[in-house]
Symmetry: D2
Subunit: 303 residues, 4 copies
């Protein structure tokens, strides 16, 4: 048995040095954070491994956009799955709008009157929808002919200014999946066009083929989840048709006891064959806006 | 100010009597549970109100199926939104398979060997997928021609034996939405057919029209959420185009501080115009398998 | 393997009937709630078993007082351990003051100005301290001579009007332990007297003897925890000198991953010898103001 | 309104640099972590401010001991309040024993057989109690004559080898309070002596005077809580007799809705007068073994 080394810090300490201290302590949340860095490092460095990244939660209003883009640009991610909300917030910022520092105690009635939408303690001007509407009005013909959701999103990425998640996926040819794309501000804007009698050709099931083919043919797979929801579950079900993930990290504040997929411990996936029983997995219970920057900063020193 | 009445119980006490005691105490979780019953009662009894019900979490393996069906059969629900997983588990039971009482401490490696998929402490035989495959092989032609997800699910419901959520929605003409249907066992089975070159006509966006039309034209709306994820968010975004929900109950174990939609308090929706600032809302922090049966049993005495 | 029976409710359903339905479903939170009722029933009915009850959390402002008193009066509890706060709130109500239904969104600055102390959404008039001060001024001589905390609390109970937890313990000769009694409104009032130069004879360690003797000599033991903190931990450490608890139920919203005693799963106690490896234990993740009234109402039909 | 700056990381990034990025994002958990660093920095640097530090949770088995000692040695803390468990684990390590890296999935029955006590995924050899027993046998006469808990703990600290929390408090004359000291391994060992007829002179209430005098006479106060329980509550009640804390940081995984003191948001204390309505407070929802090392490392660059 190894001793729990008491963690030491020092003046001028680097993030990666602190993570290594946590690795020597190796218990509780600190230990899990250190393991998360190690496992993500390994899945990125393993050349046989396809990395599936699932991103849920309001991560653009939460300040995580550049970190995601950096991971995409560096090809740390092979398959990107997210929510429609994240792509909407990404597109909003790409179109020149911003999210603002607010307060969770704000008076929601007043915010409504002045056109501010609250996302916990982050604010978004409701005007963002006008920008979105302009963008889609201008581009509807180009994107509505795409036949599946992935192609639709890549097309969107091709039309989106740089420094966005959508554009980074498109440019780097990283498949981006978002099964519930209709459930988003993007969906809402499209609805406005459908309501006027326009049509899209986007099929609900078709990009399943590509998603599962990648999992099916990969020599090895790794999964990295920020939050749960559809992004996690959609990757997990693809893993059922892989050899079982060799690496897995999930960062969540949800808990397992009430039985939902979002809070389920990764090792549960071993029973389904989603996870390889010899794989390396860690469930990190932490706010992602704390954990992800630490993991990312440590990896900058390692990869 | 009203006194916190200390709760009394008695021999032979009815669920609704206990909820009324909780209503007189009116603080902490007990108070919120009692308010949940009142608000759901009011949204059901209000004839001008369309009730939108969002169901996430593994609620069929969790024993909630009959309660959901009863709510649908009694027309307590006007619009039903759920995850693909819930519909898959529902279909599996409709096809004669079962979920089993297991253990969260089970050895997942052993379970994998004997073909048991674990959902926390509920077990599902992996054979369920064979039954699903038979069903879809027999019915693929019938369902693949549907043009949108809602029609696809109603068609599925028309082919599904009684005593299922899918069939109850179909029979009672309750619109059922599931934007992320590709993210489910149903999606996985369809993939098998797509992989062989078959096609479906199901559009990813088209049923947004019906969903939002119902919200848009309703005199009043009420929302009732079991868990978060896409079901909650998809209803919330429709509310943005309603007059703002007059009633709202959400049951979740998630928390708001990390900024995700699933844990966001309902009153946050006031800033977006999703919730009417004069509406009645409660966030109940509870395992749904505890709270929902209590709410349902109390409502059986009231509605 | 047993099937997860889908839960049914009905008009006029009794609490105990609903709990039995949950017992047949036997998964997720509902299953754990049903197991909690069974295990508490068994520890009460087992004549060889001493029941140790640990009560943390603001359970008097939360409306649980009468249920606790009923459990004490019915001798369902052999040893009672709680926080100073619960005894302070109990004493405040015994002296004729009340807690009030408030709101967690209240303006704390305004509350401070009008002398209202907030406990989440329960309010207490700050005047309560004057009543406490009167009571202790009148009785200081009587209670300050007690030599240990348990005797101090029984003496307090002897001076306290009926319908209080303190009096119920005294009257029924149920040992009441509260190691951190100085950490409470009672402590604060005593401080006023100490500051004037008065003294008490109350020893910090002496009633450990009685507490541990009960555990040490008991043929069998059961533990029932509402919340964690000192009440749970103080009983757990006594269990280390028992034969290991045969029964255990804990109701908490805390979680285990960060390593604290409050959220630790009961089975962890097996490694310490606090729990008998053949015992029956359940960790119920629920707000106690929801779970305890249900358990209590069901037990009224069973015991 | 300030923009939510998207967080950037870089190779070789220092902890304090990352915290500053989080400060510019300033939302969700990252924003709260950055605020925590700022507020603790301010309370330490404010020469008029007495800093009360409350430490709950198994922080020595969790690897936080050296950080705590460093804070004490640097006089960042004026009053230290903790649990008996933390002091027991501290003493155990001071006596040459260790905690070990274990697993939360370990077989507790086997651990019991080989004399290993589990604290989530940290292990402690049960032999630690023998070392404790030796220590107290040798020193019982010296410590049992102390009249109050603080004096008892300082005496213990005077007898304890360097590199311990107890010794750092003693050496630096930092008052150390632990109202529930009987609830701990130290209490358990003392019980062995009491059971043989020995006595201590330690009064349960007497050090309340010193604790509250410090709060009462301080020009300004700041509170810093790791976890809740008695350490937080005991400081909070002292704050009721201060001018109201000007600074407050709490790090917890507990939540407020069930009404307990541990999860209560700091601003609730404004209603009680425990917190100054003009003070600066933050509730950080995070595993302390993640947050505390980050805060500490950032402060090493700032203070």
């Amino acid at each position: 048995m190894k001793i729990v080394k008491q963690i030491n810090t020092k003046k001028g300490m680097k993030v990666n040095e602190l993570v290594k201290e946590m690795s020597l302590s190796n218990v509780f949340g600190a230990g899990r954070l250190a393991k998360s860095v190690d496992i993500v490092e390994n899945m990125i460095k393993d050349k046989e491994c396809k990395v599936f990244f699932g991103l849920a939660g309001a991560m653009v209003p939460g300040g995580m956009k550049n970190i995601i883009i950096d991971m995409l640009e560096n090809k740390w991610i092979d398959v990107f799955v997210t929510t429609g909300a994240n792509l909407t917030h990404d597109l909003i910022e790409a179109l020149g709008m911003h999210h603002y520092q607010g307060s969770s105690d704000a008076d929601d009635k007043k915010l409504h009157k002045i056109g501010i939408d609250r996302i916990y303690d982050s604010f978004m001007p409701n005007k963002a929808y006008e920008k979105l509407e302009d963008f889609f009005s201008k581009n509807f013909e180009k994107i509505s002919k795409e036949k599946d959701i992935k192609s639709f999103l890549w097309k969107l990425g091709s039309l989106t200014p740089k420094n966005s998640i959508l554009n980074a996926c498109y440019k780097n040819k990283i498949p981006i999946f978002c099964p519930a794309i209709a459930d988003s501000g993007i969906g809402l804007i499209l609805w406005g066009h459908l309501a006027k009698g326009k049509k899209t050709d986007v099929n609900a099931f078709d990009d399943l083929k590509e998603m599962i083919d990648i999992a099916w043919t990969a020599k090895k797979t790794g999964v990295f989840y920020i939050g749960g929801g559809v992004p996690k579950n959609y990757i997990q079900q693809a893993m059922q048709l892989s050899k079982g993930a060799s690496y897995g990290v999930q960062i969540t504040m949800d808990r397992p006891e009430h039985g939902g997929s979002s809070g389920a411990n990764l090792k549960e996936g071993v029973s389904w064959g989603k996870m390889d029983e010899k794989g390396h997995f860690v469930d990190l219970i932490c706010d992602a806006t704390i954990a992800l920057p630490i993991i990312h900063a440590a990896l900058k020193d390692r990869v």
